[in-house]
């Protein structure tokens, strides 16, 4: 059996080259691979292309916003190029407005579906989402069953950085509650999938086959998150 368990986050991300396309899951705090993002920042790869629902959150928790601040990102594919509230500007927005980072704004469901298509070998798909809006500009239109649709293409990545609740040594993963979000989709759409795991990594067979969320065939590397302060763990965000 191939060993997929790595002893450090730094080792797990060491080979990510300049120019890599990387998928980052997370929706709100749950499911963000904070430890792998921190390791990627330490590692120093540049000219990166990111695929992620957002571009970070307010506050000082480690997330993609911290990576973007380092100006090692050239392009960001996401559902928010501005925060929902104009008062909550992040580093991304200034860089984007200055033209220092390119962005592709994608409706969230289209983003999720494009990532799924990337992992599922679908060449392209028609969706009604975005018809009549700026995101439809320049896209192919087609009326299907009396309803207008636009054509959207798959997203793939060189790497996906994933956070899971539980794993076995083969790489079968489980997520807990809304931690799941983009994680299974990105694990499937990336060439190399690297996972930070919240619990001790189990022996094969300890996860019920009916209850695996990401099958081991999509997982390449895993690191158990150490206790704080060595590992990054969420704490409640209270506003």
């Amino acid at each position: 059996m191939k060993n997929k368990v790595y002893s450090s986050f730094d080792e797990a991300v060491a080979d990510i080259p300049d120019g890599a396309t990387i998928m980052f899951p997370g929706f709100g705090p749950p499911g963000i691979p904070r430890n792998l993002i921190a390791a990627l920042i330490r590692q120093g790869a540049k000219d990166l292309i990111g695929i992620c629902n957002n571009h970070g959150a307010l506050g000082n928790l480690m997330d993609v916003g911290r990576l973007i601040e380092t100006e090692r990102v050239v392009k960001w594919v996401c559902a928010f190029t501005a925060a929902p509230h104009p008062s909550r500007k992040l580093a991304f927005e200034a860089l984007y407005e200055e033209g220092k980072i390119e962005a592709e704004l994608v409706p969230q469901g289209t983003l999720a579906e494009r990532i799924r298509a990337g992992g599922a070998g679908i060449g392209a798909f028609y969706t009604p989402t975005g018809v009549g809006t700026e995101v439809a500009e320049g896209k192919e239109h087609r009326e299907i069953d009396g309803r207008m649709h636009i054509l959207e293409y798959p997203l793939k990545a060189d790497y996906a950085l994933i956070r899971a609740r539980r794993a076995d040594k083969m790489g079968n993963l489980q997520y807990r509650l809304s931690q799941r979000n983009f994680n299974p989709l990105m694990a499937q759409a990336a060439t190399t999938t690297i996972v930070e795991v919240e619990e001790d990594i189990l022996e094969p067979g300890q996860i019920d086959p009916d209850q695996v969320h990401t099958p081991c065939i999509f997982v390449d590397r895993m690191v158990r998150i150490p206790p704080a302060p060595d590992g990054i763990w969420d704490t409640p965000i209270r506003t």
Binding site: P29, E97, L105, Q108, T129, T133
Partner: protein, 221 residues
């Protein structure tokens, strides 16, 4: 009678009253989340959020947050009895596939043809689409909850949207600080009016010609 704009919770209660037993509902960021505070009595309402939670409950009490569970506004919530979790593509398959009975969204502008704008403000390069475009085309009904006018007093109910639209021709009902409106093929129909206001008051703050039906009633949440 004093003219007091409707309270946000009262506005959302009015929309929540439309929800029927067994409905699956998605509440947008901000004001719409107040709909979940309504007392639904015997009705079972299932709240869906974009991150794949089918069945969430009230906000978590401070100190009892489950760090693996937030709603679409990134607030820590509780899980409802009989909930289910799916991943993000399956969550939007629910939305796009027509499996939501209604969504309640905030907006900057709503037009009398059912267009609305809620993701991009004037003069800003970026936008925050999130799940709004999918919700707008996927849900069986799109309800909007918003202030009747901007902070500067400009109308938000318009003949046509000025801002980039989130979707075209999808809004069915709008609740504002001044009343409840239905989007009809002929335009906005004022169904219920805030206490103390006259139809002329409301028309004066609206950027489209209102239809005033004979059976107009006082706002009733």
């Amino acid at each position: 009678m004093e003219k007091t704009p409707l309270d946000r919770q009262v506005m959302c209660n009015r929309l929540a009253r439309e929800f029927q037993d067994g409905w699956v509902i998605n509440l947008g960021i901000g004001m719409p989340t107040l709909c979940s505070n309504y007392d639904f009595g015997d009705k079972q309402i299932i709240f869906h959020s974009e991150n794949g939670v089918i069945g969430y409950g009230p906000l978590a009490v401070e100190g009892e947050e489950d760090l693996h569970l937030v709603n679409a506004s990134s607030q820590y919530v509780t899980i409802a009895t009989g909930a289910a979790i799916v991943h993000h593509a399956d969550s939007f398959a629910i939305i796009r596939g027509g499996h939501l009975d209604a969504t309640v969204l905030g907006a900057y502008e709503v037009a009398e043809n059912g267009d609305f704008a809620n993701y991009k403000t004037a003069g800003r390069k970026g936008g925050g689409i999130g799940g709004a475009m999918d919700l707008a085309v996927g849900a069986k009904q799109v309800f909007i909850a918003m202030e009747h006018t901007t902070r500067e007093g400009e109308p938000r109910l318009l003949q046509r949207c000025n801002l980039p639209v989130t979707a075209v021709g999808v809004v069915t009902k709008v609740v504002t600080t001044l009343g409840l409106f239905e989007v009809t093929p002929q335009g906005f129909e004022l169904k219920e009016i805030a206490p103390g206001y006259t139809t002329e008051d409301v028309q004066a703050q609206t950027g489209a010609t209102l239809i005033i039906p004979d059976n107009l009633i006082e706002f009733n949440a």
